[in-house]
């Protein structure tokens, strides 16, 4: 695409966004309720929120680069980047956030049949169905491949029994994409299948898990004789691990996709105070802040470089594990630093001054970053084995 065409696209996009993005959707996301997750039971916060979703979904711009055929935006990478930039320019919120977009979609597009894509993708694009991910089990965390949830072949359907854990928003989701065991347990990776089913199916129940952060974004999810049509299998029988790995790599690479986080300078200046040289009063904290911000800059640039290399045709591969490791550890450090900048004020748990403990709860929330989606230890294992090629014991 020529620069001219791209500039024209930018102009049109700017104009369209100006005309179609409601004013109230141009304010930063402040809390959980501001996020539009979509789904059968989603309560829109406002008419504006619904209008913004519908307008964007109509153009497929909730999923800008997905094929037009299934309702996506059909944009090139360059165009999608322009759209993102122009949305950022007016402070437009994402119209829709969902695991359908960030996780299942890419797998459906790569491994799904035409029928499966036709059935599921448009509903994801329009925010009609909210998905959740059924991977981890109580005894299969880092060692995901040892999962035990069984799907027995009953002719026209599978009969599913077992338990998942850490299922994000399972209590709010309409459908689940799920790893189940359809083959023998050893060798572990080859007996796993990737299957989709409705959470309203008979035999599915969920129980939220209360976290140390006070939030309950995760559930325990139980399957008790759940019948799932065979057509709901994604990809080949017993080849689900390939899809899961593809998605995990994808997910890990996205972790840092939020770009450079907001600088902590304003908070630091306000909470710590500055001296006559316009430097933070607390010099040791100032040095820690500078070191952290430099690390953050280096990481954001690494995400950018990985993206640019991918565009240039390089395969990201195990590099995504490094990004996942580094980005999540950095985010944990960032929140420890925020605690230090705000001092004891950061520890308020309830009350208006702290917006009901937003800082403290976010801080605790980050502790899961290096556990979920593959622990830091597993990421380091992957880097040492697949990139550095260090031998197994």
């Amino acid at each position: 695409m020529s620069d001219n065409q791209l500039e024209q696209f930018r102009a049109e996009t700017k104009q369209w966004l100006e005309a179609n993005c409601p004013e109230s959707m141009r304010r930063p996301i402040q809390e959980e309720d501001d996020v539009c997750w979509g789904g059968r039971n989603f309560k829109f916060q406002s008419d504006d929120q619904k209008a913004w979703l519908d307008r964007m979904a109509e153009r497929g711009w909730t999923t800008p680069t997905w094929p037009k055929e299934y309702g996506g935006g059909g944009l090139s990478r360059e165009e999608a980047k322009v759209l993102k930039e122009e949305m950022k320019n007016i402070g437009a919120r994402p119209p829709l956030t969902s695991f359908g977009i960030s996780m299942l979609g890419p797998a459906l597009l790569k491994f799904g049949t035409h029928e499966q894509k036709q059935e599921h993708i448009p509903k994801i694009v329009r925010g009609e169905i909210r998905w959740c991910q059924g991977y981890s089990e109580p005894n299969a965390g880092s060692d995901l491949a040892s999962l035990g949830t069984k799907a027995e072949d009953k002719g026209d359907h599978f009969l599913i029994n077992g338990q998942k854990i850490w299922t994000s928003y399972a209590d709010k989701a309409d459908w689940i994409f799920c790893l189940v065991r359809t083959g023998p347990k050893e060798p572990k990776h080859t007996g796993i299948s990737f299957i989709l089913f409705d959470m309203e199916s008979k035999g599915v129940s969920t129980k939220p898990i209360k976290l140390i952060s006070g939030y309950s974004p995760f559930c325990e999810t139980f399957f008790d004789d759940v019948e799932v049509p065979k057509a709901n299998l994604l990809g080949e029988l017993n080849k689900g691990w390939t899809i899961a790995k593809y998605l995990l790599t994808h997910e890990r690479a996205m972790i840092g996709d939020m770009g450079l986080p907001a600088p902590l300078t304003p908070m630091a200046r306000e909470c710590v105070g500055v001296d006559s040289n316009n430097q933070l009063q607390d010099k040791a904290l100032r040095a820690d802040l500078a070191a952290h911000e430099i690390d953050g800059l280096a990481f954001a640039l690494t995400m950018e470089r990985a993206g640019d290399e991918a565009k240039a045709g390089a395969s990201l591969g195990a590099f995504s594990s490094m990004l996942k490791y580094y980005g999540t550890e950095l985010n944990k450090s960032r929140h420890e630093l925020i605690l230090k900048l705000k001092g004891s004020d950061a520890l308020e748990w309830e009350g208006q001054a702290s917006q009901n403990g937003k800082i403290a709860k976010q801080w605790l929330r980050t502790k899961a970053n290096s556990i979920e989606g593959g622990t830091s230890e597993v990421m380091l294992n992957i880097v040492s084995k697949r990139i550095l090629e260090l031998p197994d014991a």
């Binding site: 060692d143 140390i212 952060s213 710590v272 420890e336 001092g343 308020e348 748990w349 403990g357 556990i371």
Partner: protein
């Protein structure tokens, strides 16, 4: 003095350990939290602690105390921290007691017996800056201003408060029913009895003023930070022990995860950090009891102990969650209570960076 516990101190440790394990397991803190208790501790536990002599450790037997001094108080703080037992021990029996003793105040005996609860209100922002209060008093001793992050501020029968008085810095004592005084409970991450206090022309008793007041406060804060270091040591030790036990049980990839060398090395490193902190805490406790240690040396030991205990507790509490994996993130499991309490104690009376700066200044650089 040898850096080991005496026989008597070892007995105190054993009895404190058994007492808190039995009378105030972690579930006790959980109950208080879930019932939104505004006092922040259980009165019957406090009563029993008083009967055990834990409230009067800093008073000699002549003064009606148990005479265990700061080493004894550190032992109790450490054992108490292992089960996160909530009580006004540090606020009342250590900090307020030190201040009342130094100012020869008549309330001392009621506080030492545990019948009355007292606390110090010193912070006014999220950061500790004890000698330059914005809270003021007139020359009649009427105090006006706001304090935050006051431990047991809601439960306290009286509060020792710092203020800027015409002519200089001052320490006052305010009764809880004094006019213009109010205490608002703050629900903090650690589910303990914190409060924000406000004073509006509140009548108060002058305890000390000028440089003498600053010196008394500095001495009490040094001692308080040493006891808080012992608390950080205790809670870190408990979180570490839970973690090592978990490493011996949890299986992944067909192996006990405690067999993974990288976890082993991180655990061994934590052990080193805990043990080296244990030494500096014990030395600081002994310094607090010693007549040969001047205020400057005591302050150096206090800042060294608090800075180190804070850094160690941050490492250990974070590693404890990480090594527990998902289960460590659940509220149902106890480990989360440790990281929450750790950060509160780290911050109280100055955090890591505050004490690093103080240590450097006191050492002349």
């Amino acid at each position: 003095m040898a850096l080991v516990l005496t026989e008597e101190q070892t007995l105190l440790k054993d009895s404190a350990s058994g007492f808190f394990a039995e009378r105030s397991p972690i579930s006790s803190l959980r109950d208080l939290r879930d019932s939104y208790d505004s006092q922040g501790y259980k009165s019957d536990l406090w009563q029993e602690m008083a009967e055990m002599g834990f409230t009067s450790l800093l008073l000699s037997e002549d003064e009606g105390g148990t005479g265990f001094g700061f080493v004894g108080a550190g032992i109790v703080a450490e054992e108490m921290a292992k089960t996160l037992a909530p009580s006004p021990f540090i606020a009342s029996s250590i900090v307020a007691t030190s201040l009342l003793k130094a100012t020869k105040n008549a309330h001392l005996s009621d506080v030492a017996s545990g019948q009355k609860i007292a606390t110090l209100a010193v912070d006014e922002t999220g950061h500790h800056s004890p000698y330059t209060p914005k809270t003021t008093s007139d020359s009649d001793g009427k105090v006006s201003g706001n304090k935050t992050f006051v431990p047991e501020g809601k439960a306290a029968d009286f509060v020792i408060v710092t203020a800027d008085r015409p002519g200089g810095f001052a320490l006052y004592l305010v009764e809880k029913d004094a006019t213009g005084f109010s205490a608002e409970q703050t629900i903090m991450a650690d589910s303990r009895g914190w409060a924000k206090l406000s004073f509006d022309n509140t009548p108060a008793t002058l305890l000390a003023s000028g440089d003498a007041a600053k010196a008394i406060l500095a001495n009490a804060l040094s001692k308080a930070n040493i006891i808080l270091s012992a608390e950080l040591l205790g809670l870190s030790q408990a979180a570490f022990d839970m973690t090592v036990n978990y490493l011996k049980e949890r299986k992944q990839f067909g192996q006990i995860i405690g067999t993974f060398q990288s976890l082993q090395h991180r655990a061994a490193h934590m052990f080193s950090e805990i043990e080296t902190t244990r030494s500096i805490v014990l030395a600081a406790l002994q310094a607090a009891d010693s007549k040969d240690v001047d205020d400057q040396r005591l302050a150096i030991m206090a800042s060294a102990a608090k800075a180190r205990a804070s850094k160690m507790a941050e490492l250990v509490s974070n590693e404890a969650i990480q090594m527990h994996g998902g289960i460590g993130m659940t509220d149902e499991y106890d480990i989360g209570f440790f990281i929450k309490r750790a950060r509160a104690v780290q911050n109280l009376y100055g955090g890591y960076h505050y004490h690093l700066d103080r240590f450097a200044s006191l050492n002349g650089y």
